[in-house]
């Protein structure tokens, strides 16, 4: 009887497995090289896109959209540094910055400018340091250094160092009108511990009342709520707030000596 198992080809060569593994290693090296090349190509494309965007817009930083998961610093434009607190949301493109929630401090170097839009107003400034807190119905602004303009539906005001304001859909409350201290508390500032030279509130320019930052109707209706201080009625362009003597305060004192006030 002829048996087919006589058709012997012997065992597999002892070098077979080593040969396979050598080829597998070669394949893996090629794969790694291809992956590195692909990563390099993606990075190069991203860099090219950044350059193209910068050139196209001519504004330095191309833009971004960030929700801070922790305190973080971002240079959102050349000379404009944003220090975002947790949960703050910023969207920027060139110099145009939009903050729709949370707290962000802006440091603007000399020669640079900030053009910030919030749901209820705008904040503009050159060389300055300011803190902006955005809540659903209000934007709070505290200027630490330099000068910043706060613009809302009810008017506009230039704030110097140490001044603060709240802008909502229908009102613009500056520090000297913060009679119940609610604005100062929101910003963590003692209401009376501010320079008392009153900033001038002027009517808002027509462009500010544009659709971009116009408040929705329900917000406007809710704005004069009992818990809020009386909204500032925009004074006429010629009207100025009264000048009061400066306060002299000490952290150890319960009250400030505000001259005749």
């Amino acid at each position: 009887m002829t048996r087919l198992d006589s058709w012997d080809v012997g065992p597999a060569p002892p070098t077979l497995a080593d040969g396979v593994m050598a080829r597998v290693e070669r394949l893996e090296r090629q794969r790694r090289a291809r992956r590195a090349l692909a990563a390099f190509a993606v990075a190069a494309l991203a860099s090219a896109a950044t350059v193209v965007a910068a050139v196209t817009h001519g504004r330095g930083a191309p833009g971004g959209d960030v929700v801070a998961t922790e305190r973080m610093e971002i240079e959102i434009a050349p000379g404009v540094l944003a220090v975002m607190e947790r949960a703050a949301h910023l969207v920027w493109r060139g110099r145009e910055v939009s903050q729709d929630r949370g707290e962000v401090s802006y440091r603007v170097r000399a020669g640079a400018a900030l053009e910030l839009v919030t749901p209820t107003g705008q904040v503009r400034g050159g060389a300055s340091t300011s803190r902006v807190l955005v809540e659903p119905a209000s934007t709070y602004v505290l200027v630490r250094d330099g000068e910043v303009s706060v613009i809302g539906g009810a008017g506009r005001v230039a704030l110097g160092a140490g001044r603060y304001a709240r802008v909502s859909a229908a009102s613009l409350t500056v520090d000297h009108d913060d009679v119940d201290g609610s604005v100062g508390r929101a910003l963590g500032v003692a209401p009376r511990l501010v320079p008392s030279r009153a900033p001038v509130v002027e009517p808002a320019p027509p462009s500010v009342a544009s659709a971009r930052i116009a408040p929705p109707p329900h917000r406007a209706a809710r704005a004069p709520a009992a818990s809020s201080p009386a909204p500032v009625t925009p004074p006429s362009p010629t009207r100025r707030a009264p000048i009061v003597p400066p306060c002299f305060c000490s952290p150890m004192q319960a009250v400030c000596d505000c001259g005749g006030g």
Binding site: M1, T2, D8, A12, L16, A17, V20, M21, L27, E28
Partner: protein, 197 residues
């Protein structure tokens, strides 16, 4: 007239438990090249045995075996044992495709398999066995590739008709026909060889 029979198929592999195959496959997918060596060592006999009988050239068979495992390594993620496919059947399918590609490229065998060479210095029984093996190899080599592959898969590797149908990508009836003709041809050739001795 000699009858064709197989004492047993090549050891292991073809009958490895599905769970063991699956575990090895998973280890290869997770562990990378290091684990893949285990798979190679486990199935190299199966793949080598098939390819060596198909091409009858040791160097070429080794090269094609390596190519088979390399293709398997590349396609590890695509093999799905949950569909009932066996790892051994899958590897033999790849090996067959590798052999067909080699044939298309014109990679013809250049040397005879050493193991089937007749050594006059060996004892008579061993010499006779080697002569028989060489006769079978020559007879199988004269078959068409389609007949030779089903013969090897059925008679040497011990695959079922359904498994062979998967490997050669042909209906079971076609496989049965090819196997029947391959056996007839082998019987005739080996009968001639015995008559000439």
């Amino acid at each position: 007239m000699p009858a064709l029979a197989v004492a047993h198929p090549l050891p292991l592999t073809a009958d490895a438990p599905a769970s063991a195959e699956r575990a090895l496959l998973e280890a290869c997918r997770r562990g990378g090249p290091g684990e893949f060596r285990r798979l190679v060592e486990r199935y190299e006999g199966l793949v080598w045995g098939f390819l060596a009988r198909m091409v009858r050239d040791r160097a070429l068979a080794e090269d094609l075996s390596q190519e088979t495992f390399l293709r398997a390594y590349r396609a590890l993620g695509a093999f799905d044992p949950s569909r009932g496919a066996k790892l051994s059947t899958w590897l033999l399918t790849i090996a067959r495709n590798v052999a067909l590609d080699a044939a298309r490229r014109g990679a013809a065998p250049t040397t005879e398999l050493d193991d089937t060479a007749v050594d006059a210095a060996t004892p008579e029984s061993i010499r006779a066995a080697r002569e028989l093996g060489e006769a079978i190899a020559r007879a199988a080599a004269s078959l068409s590739p389609a007949h030779r592959e089903v013969l090897v898969l059925a008679e040497v590797q011990g695959l079922s008709m359904d498994e062979i149908a998967v490997v050669v990508a042909a209906p079971s009836n076609t496989v049965k026909q090819r196997l029947s003709r391959a056996r007839e041809r082998m019987r005739a050739l080996l009968a001639e060889w015995e008559a000439d001795r």
